[in-house]
Symmetry: C2
Subunit: 197 residues, 2 copies
């Protein structure tokens, strides 16, 4: 696997605007990995590939889920979740990516999940705050991301949940589960700091 | 089972303020049942008993969950959810209530659940809007409850979710799943109305 080939292949999957966003997520993921002791190479690779299938026609995404052994219950969830799982499938199939940590970070970059790895957290948070992002509350999330991946991500999920409540739209249960897990992590860490741990 | 005996037994489980709230939920549940074609007797019974174990010491609630075969994963959830399940257990054990529809409405009155029955919806919504309730947004929920159980409940869950986001607290995944289910119901109904159904 050659990184330059992979970049070109990824770029060909999407319009320019999405590619610009991808480069923003790569840049931010590397920064976050350095800031929080993550694996910068894995974070960079997952970030590059996170939206690989985002611009694929929705029918093609559904076909991959149905015919290539992806969890069929995905079809009951919101379509915005599909591209993450389909993307993980595609980069394994088309480019032989087989690092499960990288694949999971692609799979869960939109929803989060119960026990997020460091790489999951980095890519998911970078996706919220890359320089091209502009939505109410993004600067608060950027500030929190200066000192805590978990606080930044909780604020990111908060903004998503609040927007969905406001619009009367469905909320992904997995995002709530991810947020609960991060709150628990922060609470435990607070307790161990209080105990001098 | 004598309703008057049951009222007295329920009243003895809780302080006066909680009893006053209970009477409010009873009154509102009966009204909602009449308005939306529910079973007023079941709604009244479930409403009377919905907070049966709410004022029990938390250790006693945990002991019931551990020692009386309630789902042990309840202990991983927020304590506010316990009294609903413990209450359903207690009214069966102590008063022989065995109508599963009534017991479910007690069990899920705090969280909601995926496919809420009419009685579930009535008691859960009544718990939000009984006359003694006063919180931001309650009058909006009351207005919606004039014409739709589901719209009222979505607004109720929205207020709960927004409060938990604001306070940085965990959200019950089941509440999000309940809200998603209600949104789907409203969408389907809207579609069938458009088709003249």
């Amino acid at each position: 696997m050659n990184l330059e080939t992979l970049r070109e292949a990824t770029r060909r999957q999407m319009p320019d605007k999405r590619w610009k966003h991808t480069l923003g997520v790569v840049e931010t993921s590397v920064k976050l990995a350095e800031r929080f002791g993550g694996d910068a190479a894995k974070a960079e690779l997952a970030a590059l590939l996170h939206d690989y299938a985002k611009a694929w026609p929705i029918d093609r995404q559904a076909m991959v889920i149905r015919e290539r052994g992806l969890p069929p219950e995905l079809l009951d969830f919101d379509k915005e979740l599909w591209h993450a799982h389909v993307g993980a499938w595609a980069v394994r199939e088309e480019h032989g990516i087989d690092d499960e940590e990288v694949l999971d970070a692609i799979r869960y970059h939109t929803s989060g999940r119960e026990r997020m790895t460091l790489t999951d957290k980095i890519v998911c948070l970078a996706d919220y705050i890359e320089p091209g992002r502009d939505f109410p509350g993004v600067n608060k999330i950027r500030r929190l991301a200066e000192h805590s991946l978990e606080e930044g991500l909780v604020a990111g999920f908060d903004s998503t949940i609040s927007l969905l409540v406001e619009k009367g739209k469905r909320i992904f249960p997995l995002t709530v589960i991810a947020r609960n897990g991060l709150i628990d992590e922060l609470k435990k860490r607070g307790q161990s700091e209080l105990q001098g741990g």
